[in-house]
Symmetry: C2
Subunit: 333 residues, 2 copies
């Protein structure tokens, strides 16, 4: 019999799902970023719940306000990846009893800010007593049938793209956790990426309306793992031929002779959207994003073979499914 | 500046709500058992999230299966109290990495059972790494406008009633936590009350359809505290003249010379509904409950004064707002 640190998060989720009865009409299958309930007449309720755990998810220096805001934003990011506007947020809080009133106030303000930034309201939740600070956020939204950017629609020949660059949070976490030296002039932008992540909501809504997108996910577990998630759901592969690296990641990789692709592929806690576009509609998707101040970065193509490859000039290598995975990626107790 | 163990859960919730922007159209106000979002055309989405924390919520001997089932049932109980059928359940899990695969399987089966018993399906969630086992359940349902059993509709003169008796879980917890001696012939029913609580869903739906009910809540925090919650929301008081005590509670109170009213009022973790009925419609509510195999126990009346009183023969005393309150009811660290 195995311990779950030997299995890793994705295998644990597999095991759980194996023991669940499946709702007869699953509008969105398991393994997508969100869950859905069919309201009828073409209307779908979208539901998401995701938990923030202080001891494992919060880097040094992050305030209660920032953590609470992030707990809400990370749920909204999953809706954003589906092209769904968040309408209401709930939060179940686990709080240690020796917390200060002022810390609870900061958590309330942070949750409220996270919801209001994206037009939603916090409408309920509950409080519980825990050893660690736990913020379990829940996001609710509405979607029209057939207008949800699912994970399972990518087809060979589609273009693979992202809404932005990667690598800042990887650097930020190394700066905070491993004392990596970062030039002062980029510290603020790096720390903002870690402490104040942004959900790509207007980008997700624009992509949905463009009609150009065949599949989409957010990248909270890192670019590599998110590509594997898209691959699994869509039953396709990818060949990545352009690394969407942040300028700051370039600079730090050179400065410390770090592998740039590691910073970009395996960072995690970034909330860019990773999506596929019908081959003839890349310009439509670009225009849609540009209208809302966003950008589309082409990074590769969808392939029939279920491998995930990275091509640099003539060399091709596999992108292994690394990135943050709970249970596995910490030292066993 | 205060620590939250000095404030107690209800004050903490007050503080949090003070810092939240209120959604313009709150179909159900804060301080009710559930939250709601207006879908338009008379349709309301009902949302609830509530967290089960192993170290504070799980008594000795409770299995992973039972705990997971209860985490779902306690969310369904809140919908039941509103007369709302649960349709879909989500669960965010916090799992220690040294858990066994078999324990995760039991959690999955328990959650599934909790949902299926009440006709709902588990449709999503996520997993996280925590020190303690955390099961944050979320329930989704639909209601028609004006057909929700809110907390704020009780009016002076209404009849106060419950769907069943109280006291079994109080005894059960003392049996498990304090070695209270319980006769063998009632141990099973007592332990079932603790380990396999039932949500009063068919009762809640029947009461909703009866049109007789003016307010309702579940009693997960104990009868006394739930009466205070109803009082606060409805801006009324209660005079309780009949103690809805379980036969087992009677017997144990006599055997150990315990105060019966303490077992009944301050037990908690029971999921009976506490509700108020229009004075002329008690028979309608009784018939509605009887049709689904339930019962209505009249325990008192709604009063204009916001006090909560207990009358035994000529003596009247206050029912203080005891019952389980997080942060406060455990020894400060």
């Amino acid at each position: 019999m195995s311990y779950i640190y030997q299995l890793g998060e994705r295998r644990v989720i597999d095991i759980i799902m194996h023991h669940l009865d499946t709702m007869p009409e699953m509008v969105i299958p398991f393994w997508d970023d969100v869950s859905a309930y069919n309201l009828g007449e073409g209307e779908i309720a979208i539901l998401k719940s995701d938990m923030l755990v202080w001891s494992t998810d919060i880097p040094p220096g992050m305030t209660h306000y920032q953590a609470a805001r992030k707990a809400v934003v990370m749920n909204i990011s999953d809706l954003a990846a589906k092209g769904v506007k968040p309408l209401a947020i709930l939060a179940s809080l686990g709080l240690p009893k020796n917390m200060l009133e002022s810390e609870v106030v900061e958590i309330a303000k942070g949750m409220n800010k996270g919801a209001r930034e994206y037009g939603a309201y916090l409408i309920g939740g509950d409080t519980n007593e825990t050893g660690d600070i736990i913020i379990c956020g829940m996001a609710f939204g509405l979607a029209k049938k057939g207008k949800i950017l699912r994970r399972d629609g990518a087809r060979p020949g589609d273009i693979l793209a992202t809404t932005g660059t990667f690598g800042k949070t990887a650097i930020g976490l190394q700066f905070l956790l491993k004392d990596l030296v970062i030039p002062v002039d980029i510290q603020k932008v790096i720390l903002n990426a870690v402490y104040l992540p942004q959900a790509r909501l207007k980008e997700g809504l624009a992509l949905r309306d463009s009609g150009a997108v065949t599949s989409s996910t957010d990248s909270s577990d890192g670019l590599a793992l998110s590509l594997h998630d898209l691959s699994r759901s869509s039953k396709v592969g990818f060949i990545v031929d352009y690394l969407p690296s942040a300028l700051e990641a370039h600079r730090i990789a050179e400065l410390h002779t770090l592998e740039l692709s590691d910073l970009v592929l395996y960072g995690g806690e970034e909330y860019e959207l990773i999506f596929t576009v019908k081959p003839g509609m890349v310009e439509d998707a670009k225009k849609a994003l540009s209208k809302v101040g966003g950008e589309l970065i082409e990074i590769g193509k969808v392939t029939k073979d279920k491998e995930i490859l990275f091509q640099v000039k003539d060399k091709i290598k596999s992108i292994i499914p690394g990135g943050w995975e709970h249970f596995k990626d910490s030292v066993p107790v």
